[in-house]
Symmetry: C2
Subunit: 139 residues, 2 copies
Amino acid sequence: MEQQQISTYLLKNGIRPLQKRVKIMGYLVSKRNHPTVEMIYSDLVHEIKGLSKTTVYNVLNLFVQSGVALALNIEGNEIRYDADTSTHGHFKCRVCSGVIDFRIKQEELPKPMLDGFRIEEHHFYLMGVCSFCCNKIEA
Amino acid sequence: MEQQQISTYLLKNGIRPLQKRVKIMGYLVSKRNHPTVEMIYSDLVHEIKGLSKTTVYNVLNLFVQSGVALALNIEGNEIRYDADTSTHGHFKCRVCSGVIDFRIKQEELPKPMLDGFRIEEHHFYLMGVCSFCCNKIEA
DNA sequence: ATTAATTTTGTAATCATTACAAAATAATAC
DNA sequence: GTATTATTTTGTAATGATTACAAAATTAAT
Ligand SMILES: [Mn+2]
Ligand SMILES: [Mn+2]
Ligand SMILES: [Zn+2]
Ligand SMILES: [Zn+2]
């Protein structure tokens, strides 16, 4: 996606499209790898002069609050970020630690009986070993 | 559940039923409130002479590795523990922070197409406002 | 009762995240 | 454009949950 498209997208969601914000959103959108703050910072610090890790935290928190990114709590020691806010599920490989998407339709999600509850977010994720790592192991 | 039943259960799962382990498992089984380490420690420290928080961590890690407890990563800053290892989902209220169970049948869970993947764990949870807190808010 | 193995404890270390005030940047007014 | 004001970014320190580790205590085996 172009920087210009990203700027427009951020603006539409009430976020001023400052340079570092656009770069971080561009990174999320193009890599689609559900990175941690550490991954984003270490990849972008070379490209953005004088980037601070605190800024990465600030910008991601802003993105989540504004609804343009999801914070995924798959394992307790790290948060992973996702610019895809549509309904979908995640698989995390316990060998390579990769997180990949899978599509789920909203109507495929179980509908638990929770009368009087206001349900705001659905989270569905799987853990296991990805096909790449399965092949490596049996080889 | 009786202490004796818990001891037998732990033994069957390869865990020596030492006093503190039985007490901690008894707490999990009887309260069913998906407590954090902090909650378990502060509730049991009065009842068990000289309990250490490190022991709570050690015992819970042992339980999870042995398959008699689940570690729930619903929000990134805390792990909640559950002695119910059957297939079920969780709802977390963002007002009162309570975590409650709901039943899901294994066959109700979406079956994503992940050819060649080894799927070992399913996690399904919801966030929102529980019925109790909904009532309080509108009142 | 001795000895050996396991568990528990207390403290320090680690690691991700947040708090905060100063410096830098961007927007607005003149 | 320059001065003024508001917002953002930075660097460092603080926080909080978890783990590492070695000594002390407990449990099992001889
Ligand atoms: Mn995703
Ligand atoms: Mn549960
Ligand atoms: Zn893998
Ligand atoms: Zn509630």
